[in-house]
Assembly symmetry: C2
Homo-oligomer: 343 residues x 2
C-alpha cells in the first residue's frame, strides 16, 4: 500500500531537465526521502542531490529505486533493465511512472520474484475498488480544482500541505497522479481506473480520518475539459471536499490539447459548488492559486489583487508568494482544525 | 466491430425471467434478429420465441450465440461451456455480457481459435480509444439522461429510435451498455473504459455522420449520482447532444445503491445544459420520459400533464403512451431532419 522510503532516484540517460521532472518533483517536495540520484552515461539531467551507486544507496538504507523520468509514449528503454535488476538484487523495490510495466521485462519480473521485491507501476491501477458510496466520512478535506489541466493543482496541494503543517494543522497531501504518488508514497492514478470506480477510488485515496485532520487532495483536470471532465467530477464526488482552491494559469488561451477557451474562474467556483454539494453540502471555496510565472512581479501582484477583489477570496502564487493568505482563510473558516496537532 | 446477426439466444439454466432480462431486451427491440432461444434442462425463463438446437439454428443461418443472461457476480457457469463450444463448432460467434470473459475458459478459447470464431465480451472494453477531442462533428445527436441509474434511459432511446424511424427520421440507437450492445450489434460499455477515455469512447460510439442523421444515444447514470456521475459527464461531453430527454421514475425515493435523494428534474435539465454546452452550446431538452409503471392510468396521465405544465416540455411513458409527443417536439425544433430519409 505504501512505497517504502528512502528513495534512490533513477534518471537513466534522459537528455534534459524536462524528462527528469518527476524526479525533480520528488526532490522539491520530499528532499528528506531522497538519498541520491543514479545516472547512466549520457544523462543530461541532474536533481542537485548526490550521485550514488546502487551499492552505496543500499548501504545508506535506500528501500526503493524510483524511475523518475517521463518520455513520449512512457516506454522503459531496454538499456535500463540491467540497472533495475541490479537494484532489485541489492534489496530495493522499484517504482515507475512509465506506461511500460516493469514486470513486462522478463529479467525484471524474474529478479523481483527471486528476491521477493515489490514492483510499483503507479501509472496503472490494478487494485480492485468499490463503487463510490457518497456517504460523509469523518475528517476534513480540501481539493484543488482548476480552469484547466496542468494548472498547478499538485504543487498547490503540496504548498498548502507544507504551509498548513507549519501553522499547526494536521494535514496530509493525497496523490491522484503518478508524481504525486512518489511524493506521498501512496495514492492512485485516478485517470487510470475503470470509469465506474472513479469516485470509489477517490474515497479510497482519502479514507475516513480523525475529525480535525485535513486531507489535501491533488485535483485533476477541470469540470469544463471536454476530454477529462468525467475524471474531475468523480474525483470531486469521492473527495467530498469541505473546501477547494481554484488553480489557474492566466496567460493560457485554450485548454490543453483542445481548442476550447478556459472557463472563467467564477464558473469553476459555481460548478464545483453545485456538483460538490452532492456529497458535501457545505463545500466552499478557500482561495485562488495562480501560476504567475509569465508575469513580472508588479503585474502578478496587480493580477492577484484584482482576483481577490473580484471573487472575495485570497489569491496567491504558491511558488512565488506562498499560501499564507489561503491558509489564513482556512483557519478562519475552520478554526477548530487549527489546533488539531496541538494535543 | 459489429456482432453478426441473426442471433440464437442462450439462456442456460437460469431460474427466472429476471435472470433472462438481457435476452428479453433483445427480443423486445430486435425480434427480427432472434431466430430462437436455447435452454438447458432446468431453465425457468422463456422469451416467447422458438426453442432451437444449435444445429437447427446454424441451419437457419444463426451467426452468433448470445449469452443473454445476468447473474450476481456475472460469472459463467462451467456447466455451460460444452454448449458454447458446440455453438463455436457449428460456426457461430459467441457474445456475452457476463463479467467472466469467454476466453478465460480454455475449452472455449481453444475452440474459437481452432474454428476462427469471434468471442465478444461486451462488458469489457479492450479497445484502445483516443482521448476526447470535444470538436463538433457532423450529424445530429440525442442523449437520454436521468434523475437516477436504471430510470429507463435505454428503453427511452430505443422507443425514440422506433418512433423517429416510423416518422421518417434517419435515426440509429447507439449503445453504451451491454444489453444495448446486443440490441444494436455495436457499442461500448462506457462504464468499463479507463477513466481518461470516457468522452473519447463516447465520440467513437457516435462518430461523424451525415448532417441530418440522428444518433439516439443510450445514457448512463446521472450527473447527480455520487458513484457514477463521472461516467455520465464524460458521456455527455463526448456525445455533444443537440437534444436530450430526461428519464425519471417517480416513485423512487433515493438513487440506486446510495441514500441520496433523487435530484429534481429541473436540476437535471439545468446541469445537463450547463455541462453539455462545453461541447454543444445549442443543447436543449426535448422532453421527459417517465416510467409510470407504479401508477394507475389516471394518476400516470395526471402526473405527466403536471410535468408538461411545470417544465414546458412533452412528457410521456414510452412503454405505455409512446413517444409521439417528444418526437413532435424534435420535429418542431429540428424540422430539416424530418425528411432526412425522404430523399
Amino acid at each position: 500500500m505504501q512505497i517504502r522510503t528512502p528513495y534512490l532516484i533513477f534518471l537513466g540517460d534522459v537528455p534534459d531537465r524536462l524528462a527528469a521532472k518527476t524526479g525533480q518533483g520528488i526532490v522539491d517536495w520530499r528532499r528528506e526521502w531522497c538519498l541520491g540520484q543514479l545516472r547512466l552515461p549520457g544523462c543530461g539531467a541532474g536533481l542537485g542531490i548526490p550521485d550514488l551507486t546502487i551499492q552505496k544507496a543500499a548501504a545508506q538504507g535506500a528501500r526503493t529505486l524510483i524511475v523518475g523520468v517521463v518520455n513520449a509514449g512512457g516506454f522503459l528503454p531496454d538499456a535500463w533493465t540491467a540497472t533495475i535488476v541490479e537494484a532489485i538484487e541489492a534489496g530495493l523495490d522499484v517504482a515507475s511512472g512509465l506506461h511500460t510495466r516493469l514486470g513486462s521485462k522478463p529479467e525484471i519480473a524474474a529478479a523481483a520474484q527471486r528476491h521477493g521485491r515489490q514492483l510499483w507501476d503507479v501509472r496503472h491501477s490494478d487494485r480492485h475498488f468499490e463503487t463510490g458510496k457518497g456517504a460523509k466520512r469523518p475528517g476534513m478535506r480540501l481539493l484543488t480544482v482548476g480552469t484547466d489541466c496542468a494548472a498547478g493543482k499538485k504543487y498547490t496541494a503540496l504548498a498548502l500541505e507544507r504551509e498548513m503543517r507549519a501553522r499547526g494543522f494536521d494535514a496530509d497531501f493525497r496523490a491522484t497522479g503518478q508524481t504525486g504518488i512518489f511524493i506521498s508514497g501512496r495514492g492512485v492514478a485516478i485517470d487510470a481506473v475503470v470509469a465506474d470506480f472513479i469516485s470509489g477510488a477517490a474515497e479510497w485515496i482519502s479514507p475516513a480520518a480523525s475529525p480535525l485532520h485535513w486531507d489535501v487532495i491533488e485535483g485533476q483536470g477541470t469540470l469544463f475539459h471536454p476530454s477529462f471532465a468525467g475524471v474531475t467530477l468523480g474525483l470531486l464526488h469521492g473527495s467530498q471536499p469541505d473546501a477547494f482552491v481554484v488553480c489557474h494559469e492566466p496567460t493560457r488561451q485554450t485548454m490543453r490539447g483542445v481548442s476550447h477557451p478556459l472557463p472563467p474562474i467564477e464558473a469553476v467556483i459555481d460548478l464545483t459548488i453545485r456538483c460538490g454539494a452532492v456529497t458535501n453540502p457545505d463545500i466552499r471555496p478557500a482561495g485562488i492559486s495562480v501560476n504567475t510565472g509569465a508575469l513580472d512581479e508588479k503585474a502578478a501582484l496587480d493580477y492577484l489583487k484584482r482576483l481577490e477583489d473580484d471573487h472575495m477570496l485570497p489569491a496567491s502564487d504558491p511558488m512565488r508568494f506562498g499560501m499564507a493568505g489561503i491558509v489564513d482563510r482556512i483557519a478562519a473558516d475552520f478554526p477548530a482544525t487549527l489546533s488539531a496537532t496541538a494535543g
